[in-house]
Amino acid sequence: MTSTVIEQPLHSYHLIAQTCLLAGKIILQNGGETYRVEDTMVRIAAAYGIADAQSYVTPTGLLFAMDASVPTTRLIRISERSTNLRKVALVNDISRRISQGKLEVSEAHRLLTEIDEQPFAYPVWLQVLVAAIASGCFLVMFGGRWHDFAAAVLAGGLGFGSMVLLHRLVPVKLFAEFVASLLLGGAAILLVKSGAASNMDSVIIASVMPLVPGLHITNAVRDLMAGHLVSGLSKGVEAFLTAFAIGAGIAAALSFY
């Protein structure tokens, strides 16, 4: 093959493909936008001298092909997705260093594997605590009274905490969200009935905010606008289903009120 690109040994092509895929996989699994996944993979490949890499990304799997002297096509199935923007930022950083030519393939692959394996997440208790505090803040922002602050903190913490827990126990995400918001609504009703809170509406609105699929909605629209129609639509459906589950849970709780 005659090309201006420096010929790489066979195992090196293999490693380049692995590195690209790993970077794409981490971004996709942790809540990055689809265009970022494709862009990162193609950029890394280009930085290692493979000019015509192709990628096709959907929320549930990614395809990557390079047409170098040894054509390779790979597919990775993504079954679990979560939100961890720190990992997205870390991979972004590595991809930038690769583009600047500051990172060898083997070193990049090692760093990416490290990122993939480590959790890099804040402890769950801290997340629940922070979600609870955020609920209290939302209560004040949405015109609630300071009197209801504690109730919103309690209901918000319960809702978010039970969602995190249920996500681990229940295989169907939709159901976990439904039950979490049902519990949240139930707690708010009890708090109002027992006299600990005065306005049930504002307590529920504030404490449901941590469950709202804001990231999915944002990602869905950005994907659609960037021309990633399949990803955009499926992420939009995911966001809609989450919103629907939350709404149904709250509605179910309210119907007992």
Binding site: C137, M209, G214, V221, R222, M225, I250
Partner: protein, 146 residues
């Protein structure tokens, strides 16, 4: 500056930073998440105070949120999504969606549909605002390249 505005500023800062933490944003970026969320929320409040409807107020706030997120993304070499997600969270029409849901439960479907459409329009506005400022940004970059 009355006490109410300071209260709103502090609360929106805390809640946006909290959302950064819930989404596992890098620790050093949490204050910036808070700042983006605070500016967006205060702008929204100012706009509604001046008599604007919820939808144009949201649009203005989101566009500014997106512009600041882009500046931060460039400044800190961090994906823009870290900032923009935290920034839009306070603007999500949770209250309107809740009211719609409540009317459904009370069998007042006509009002429920009205409120539901309003919530849908506001979330659409958030999306449009985010994309609009990105498109403008890219266009400016292309013009500079000419």
């Amino acid at each position: 500056m009355s006490w109410g505005w300071i209260e709103q500023a502090v609360m929106s800062f805390i809640s946006a930073a909290a959302f950064g933490l819930i989404f596992n944003a890098p620790r050093q970026m949490l204050p910036q998440c808070g700042v983006v969320g605070m500016i967006g929320w205060l702008l929204y409040l100012v706009c509604t105070e001046m008599g604007l409807e919820a939808i144009p107020a949201t649009l203005i706030a989101v566009i500014i949120v997106a512009i600041i997120s882009q500046l931060f993304a460039k400044l800190y070499k961090t994906p823009i999504i870290v900032f923009s997600v935290a920034g839009i969270i306070p603007l999500v029409p949770g209250g309107t969606a809740y009211d719609a849901m409540r009317k459904v439960v009370e069998n007042e479907y006509d009002i429920a549909v009205q409120l539901g459409v309003k919530a849908f329009m506001i979330s659409g506005t958030i999306a449009i605002g985010l994309v609009l400022s990105e498109v403008v940004n890219q266009t400016i970059r292309r013009i500079e390249r000419l």
